[in-house]
């Protein structure tokens, strides 16, 4: 029976032989195996680095069958790096991918008004979004007054201020209104700090002359605000 010392000795000898051979061991194996970018769409496997996102998408819900490029290489306003036949586009606003607004797809706009472009997509990915009738599948996120539908006023939307605040560029964590979209439509965790009024201050004046009087409610203002935090798990 081979004892432990003898086994380590064998391993050491084999290792020395391997090192002495003509091949050198590359620190990062595969770093010289280049991807072929001549095909349509993105030829770089995004999931190699973003497997966790792939897992999230595969876990259920919506968007399970959509490739990364269908969202992240679809803005007409960007200009991605691409190889289109013999023409090489070096990329302008982004190289491989951009962080796009949910509303890029869900704004209810059709060509040519839409900023969505299919130019950088793999031709085989059409049916990920479109059925055979080529209908627009991404439902418009109506009810905030952000789509071209004249009926989409959003005047009664309880979360409209949330969406509009998320859209303010100067104070933006994400593109467009995405913070608001993903807060509700994904399982992302969120800490929401509310500051709510707990009291109304009402000013009531009695207006009178000798022969005529009425009570006038001149002001109603919210007051006594208290903060509290909601943690969405």
């Amino acid at each position: 029976m081979i004892n432990l010392k003898r086994m380590f000795l064998i391993i050491a000898i084999l290792s020395a032989i391997a090192v002495a051979m003509t091949h050198t061991v590359t620190l990062f194996s595969g770093q010289h195996s280049w991807y072929n970018l001549s095909g349509s769409g993105s030829n770089v496997p995004c999931l190699k680095c973003h497997a966790d996102i792939g897992d999230e998408l595969d876990s259920g819900g919506v968007h399970t069958s959509i490739d990364c490029e269908c969202c992240h290489r679809t803005s007409k306003m960007v200009g991605y790096a691409a190889v289109n036949a013999s023409l090489v586009e070096p990329g302008q606003g982004a190289h491989s991918a951009s962080t796009e607004e949910c509303m890029l797809c869900h704004n209810g706009r059709r060509r040519p008004e839409t900023n969505f472009t299919h130019d950088y997509l793999n031709s085989s990915s059409c049916h990920q979004c479109h059925d055979s009738d080529d209908v627009l599948l991404a439902a418009a996120a109506g009810g905030f007054g952000l789509t071209p539908d004249l009926c989409d006023t959003g005047t009664k939307a309880a979360h409209r201020s949330f969406v509009l605040e998320a859209m303010i560029v100067d104070d933006s964590l994400m593109a467009g209104a995405n913070e608001a979209c993903i807060a509700c439509h994904t399982t992302i965790k969120a800490n929401i700090e509310f500051n709510v009024s707990t009291e109304a201050k009402i000013t009531v004046n009695n207006v009178y002359t000798e022969s005529y009087s009425y009570w006038a409610v001149t002001e109603i203002t919210p007051t006594n605000y208290i903060p509290y935090t909601e943690v969405k798990e």
Binding site: D149, C151, A183, I202, Y208
Partner: protein, 428 residues
């Protein structure tokens, strides 16, 4: 090397290699790509995940506690198009996930069925122009509708019907004075001063804790009146308990008793017995005058019939309280007009009522016609307040100030009375 040490070093090395060679990057906001299924043709987003506090409030609410968020905030009776998933997804129009409901959306004149329950119409505020002018809180509701603090009239609904607190800053006159001579004020009437009074109905502040109707406490917002009725002007043996008129009568069990007995032969309607004042001045007491119809409904075994009195009022046409004045029930044509004293139809103690043309004229109606509504209660209380009729008096001189020496001709009384809460009055 001990096996355990060797194992730890091995695990550490393997972990290091995995970490250095791993190609995964870490997402800044994990789960942002884990989209919620919205295949159902209704709301699939868990409102409570972000609004658990509101759910907890509803769970402690007397009313609406069985409602889901969607029952109110995606109420279909408004015609609002909300976003919906499903195979034929609906794009929202006026609202996406939810709207802030106006209470009257459900409690309108037709009512509505929500979660299997009928939402009763909020009479009279659900009626056109918020109903008649006699609704005591109509100005509040109208102002709430103008206010941008919440949708519609909700501010007014919330302060009474939920645990949302309210502070009311009132300003009104401080006092009035007049000389009553032969049932006329001549030109003697005047008002003076300004009283600022703050009433605060402090509650938990929770807008989604709806109160059962018996928990809506009139005396909280109208604390000045409560204070007047319960404490009056401190330090006086005959507290100046304005807003609770005595009913002048000689029919006590012995001597003068303002608390029991009157020409109608029943316990005094307005007067609050001195004992347990703090408890006796409650919603039911307020309804005695400000919603006679409800008071009668709530008290079917009363020793007196209020049906005709209710018809003298507008109480069936108001929301909870009627803005009224003494004449509403005690005017010349009203059921409880101020009548002749049946105990003494003639003689020295004859005292005629002063809402009738036959005796002292239309005094009550004249007051109603000639003076602002805000003064009318205190005009009456200037004589009908207990403090200006001390029970220790000799018996006749207090009457004579108003009724004259032979109880049939008008007397001469100089009256000063302050508004609530002091109610201090002099009648000389």
């Amino acid at each position: 090397m001990r096996p355990i040490t060797f194992a730890i070093i091995l695990v550490g090395l393997v972990s290091l290699v995995l970490l250095l060679t791993s190609t995964n990057v870490f997402s800044l906001l994990p789960e942002q790509h884990k989209f919620i299924n919205i295949d159902n043709p209704s709301n699939d987003i868990d409102c409570v995940a972000c609004h658990s506090r509101i759910r907890a409030e509803l769970d402690n609410s007397d009313l609406h506690g069985n409602f889901s968020c969607e029952d109110c905030h995606r109420f279909e009776g408004t015609g609002i198009i909300f976003a919906e998933g499903g195979s034929l997804a609906t794009s929202g129009e006026e609202a996406h996930a939810a709207y802030t409901p106006r209470c009257l959306d459900c409690h309108d004149s037709d009512g509505a069925t929500v979660a299997g329950e009928y939402a009763t119409p909020a009479r009279a505020f659900c009626d056109e122009n918020y109903g008649c002018e006699y609704s005591a809180h109509k100005a509040l509701v109208a102002k709430a509708n103008e206010s941008s603090m919440s949708v519609g009239e909700n501010e007014a609904c919330l302060v009474c019907h939920t645990n949302y607190s309210c502070e009311l800053d009132y300003s009104y006159f401080k006092g009035i004075s007049y000389n009553l001579s032969s049932w006329s004020f001549g030109t003697s009437f005047s008002y003076s001063g300004q009283r600022d009074y703050t009433a605060n109905w402090g509650k938990s502040g929770a807008k989604h804790v709806f109160l059962s109707l018996d928990k809506i406490d009139c005396t909280k917002c109208h604390e000045n009146i409560y204070e007047a009725l319960v404490t009056g002007t401190n330090g006086d043996p005959d507290d100046y308990l304005t807003h609770a008129p005595i009913e002048i009568s000689h029919r006590g069990s012995s001597g003068r008793h303002w608390d029991t007995g009157n020409p109608w032969g029943h316990d005094r309607y307005h007067y609050v017995p001195y004992e347990n004042r703090a408890e006796s001045v409650n919603n039911s007491y307020c309804y005695e005058c400000h919603n006679v119809n409800k008071y009668a409904d709530d008290n079917p075994s009363l020793p007196y019939d209020l049906a005709s009195v209710a018809t003298d009022t507008n109480s069936s046409n108001v929301h909870c309280a009627e803005a009224l004045w003494c004449q509403t029930c005690h005017g010349r044509t009203k059921t409880k007009k101020v009548i002749d004293n049946p105990d003494y139809p003639s003689g020295a103690d004859k005292a005629e009522g002063h809402s009738d043309t036959s005796g002292y004229g239309d005094f009550v109606d004249d007051v109603t016609s000639n003076y602002a509504r805000t003064f009318q209660g205190d005009i009456c209380m200037g004589c009908h307040e207990a403090a200006v009729h001390p029970s220790s008096g000799s018996g006749t001189e207090e009457c004579q100030r108003c009724h004259g020496s032979n109880q049939t001709s008008g007397g001469n009384a100089d009256v000063y009375i302050e508004s609530e809460p002091s109610g201090y009055a002099t009648n000389n």
